[in-house]
């Protein structure tokens, strides 16, 4: 196939057309309107960078950035530790391995919105009931404060994604040659030594993959945020995606919201590019 070949163009056209109309055109179109007072339908005046200046003065946006970053960091650490732990557990030779794997992975298949509602019930009613039963005060009144809202989101996120990350670690763990482990065992290496000395270095590339996945998941989180806390109390658990949505579809400040969306894109893209760059560099070093 060459560029002159008509079948080349016919083969790529549908997908390219959809991508352009759905992603690139709206992106550029929206970007243009961030310099105006666009209300979703029309724009009357050109504002220059005014919207962008306003974005950084908007407390609810900067609060959302910090909240999201905090959430992302805590989530990444916990999801990866627990995901790796689960992966190590289910790659031991046990009869119940497959069953466990099935169970841990299950939350991934269910939508964030549905899981958010389920956990809202767990935190509000389930935790409360357990708290009363065992007389543990910290289990009561969950999601009513910023802290419990934060940890609620983290717990939900970890529960949902740890199984997914587990799958990724498993595929790397299984690539560890069996003979190597057996040889080490014969040499008298303990379980932990075998893990740290042999498995860990071989699994290292999985960290890069998992970090990237959890990071971008954490940044784009919306459904869970909406169903679990809906930003409450007093908007203090509103994450970036939700903050942008609110600006656009509750307050109808479209140009302003789109400016936030552009900043959001820069943040997400910067993270991704760093990741790719880092990854490539390490591959070369090795």
């Amino acid at each position: 196939m060459t560029n002159k070949n008509i079948s080349f163009w016919l083969f790529i056209l549908p997908a390219l057309f959809a991508l352009s109309v759905v992603v690139f055109y709206p992106f550029l179109y929206g970007f243009y309107y961030t310099f105006t007072d666009w209300n979703g339908l029309t724009a009357t005046t050109f504002l220059g960078f005014e919207n962008y200046i306003k974005v950084f003065q908007d407390e609810s946006f900067t609060d959302a950035i910090w909240f999201t970053i905090k959430f992302a960091i805590v989530s990444i650490i916990l999801v990866n530790i627990i995901g790796l732990g689960l992966a190590v557990l289910v790659t031991q030779k046990m009869k119940i391995n497959n069953g466990l794997r099935t169970i841990f992975f299950m939350p991934n298949l269910i939508g964030g919105l549905i899981l958010g509602f389920i956990w809202q019930f767990i935190f509000k009613s389930g935790f409360d009931a357990v708290g009363r039963l065992l007389d543990l005060e910290f289990l009561q009144g969950w999601l009513a404060t910023t802290e419990t809202g934060f940890w609620g989101l983290v717990i939900l996120n970890v529960w949902q994604y740890a199984g997914y990350i587990m799958i990724i670690y498993i595929s790397y763990l299984q690539s560890v040659p069996e003979e190597l482990l057996e040889a080490a065992e014969i040499d008298g290496a303990s379980v932990f030594q075998r893990f740290w000395r042999i498995k860990f270095p071989l699994v290292a590339p999985a960290f890069t993959v998992s970090l990237f996945l959890t990071l971008s998941n954490a940044f784009k989180l919306y459904d869970q945020n909406l169903a679990l806390t809906n930003g409450g109390p007093y908007g203090s658990t509103e994450m970036l995606a939700m903050e942008i949505y609110q600006t656009a579809f509750s307050r109808y400040e479209m140009a302003f919201a789109q400016s936030k969306a552009v900043i959001f894109f820069i943040l997400v893209a910067a993270v991704a590019v760093t990741q790719v760059y880092w990854n490539k560099k390490r591959e070369v070093d090795m």
Partner: protein, 273 residues
């Protein structure tokens, strides 16, 4: 030595089972309370229901207009995935077989689109599609092609590279057209990656809330959109909501049960590549 190993295994099994129980506890609470009356839920969340009632499920089924929502979800998911598979595999094949710079550039564009998060195009997208009256099911399916093609093309591209060009050339000599070559020879060989593409897209599209909430009107609402029915501004009807949530999860669990090996493998392949 043998004894020690056995004990170690036993402990491991116990730990595994304990974690599994913790993992499943949210589902336990959901299901158990879905069978209770409103009053029962307030009185005791943790216990088994005093008298099992199916009323919640009946009511939730009606309120959710479940069959309709299920149909809507199926229409959206199946059509989107079909066109994603057809058009992405075609595009990936063409891009992979054409070694020119332009082709490489177009491939890069597809990959780069993955960097753009949905929220960054959401507002203009809705505005543009609204203007041309495409905020409906067909518009939504088209949008899914746009959002889904990047990753799918990326995955297919890698797989096509692994198929020797000599196959194409041999068929070409026999007088087959590109179209025939692709569908008769190449596409069948892409079956494993097609499974992966399908699974990744199903999980995402079936569960998507934000995009359809902006595009679909009530009558065409998919299952996730309906879930809000029980979370009224003034009343939160947990007994019905939990039954509704359980109903919504059942199709997913059923499919998972039958195809878990494929699903887990598909997800792993998609993430690692």
């Amino acid at each position: 030595m043998h004894q020690k190993k056995k004990r170690y295994k036993m402990w491991l099994t116990i730990i595994g089972l304990t974690i599994a129980l913790i993992w499943l506890s949210p589902f336990y609470l959901m299901i158990v309370n879905a069978f209770k009356t409103k009053f029962d839920i307030f009185n005791n969340v943790l216990a088994l229901p005093e008298a099992f009632t199916l009323d919640n499920f009946k009511q939730a089924y009606i309120d959710l207009d479940f069959l309709n929502a299920l149909t809507n979800s199926l229409i959206v998911s199946v059509s989107s995935i079909l066109i994603i598979i057809i058009f992405s595999s075609m595009a990936a094949y063409a891009l992979s077989r054409n070694k020119s710079r332009l082709s490489g550039g177009i491939f890069l564009i597809f990959v780069a689109a993955m960097l753009i998060p949905f929220q960054s195009v959401m507002i203009p997208l809705i505005s543009i599609f609204g203007k041309v009256n495409m905020l409906n099911t067909s518009g939504l399916i088209f949008m899914y092609l746009g959002f889904g093609s990047s990753l799918s093309i990326f995955l297919y591209h890698g797989a096509v590279k692994g198929i020797p060009v000599s196959l194409d050339e041999a068929a070409m000599i026999d007088g087959a057209s590109r179209w025939t070559i692709f569908w008769k020879i190449i596409f069948p060989m892409l079956k494993p990656i097609t499974m992966t593409v399908m699974i990744l897209n199903v999980i995402w599209i079936w569960n998507d809330y934000l995009l359809p909430s902006l595009v679909l009107s009530q009558a065409y609402a998919t299952i996730p959109l309906r879930m809000f029915f029980f979370f009224g501004q003034y009343t939160k009807q947990w007994h019905l909501a939990l039954a509704g949530l359980t109903l919504a999860i059942i199709p997913v669990i059923l499919i998972y049960f039958f195809a878990q090996k494929h699903i887990i493998k598909g997800v792993a392949d998609g993430a690692v590549k």
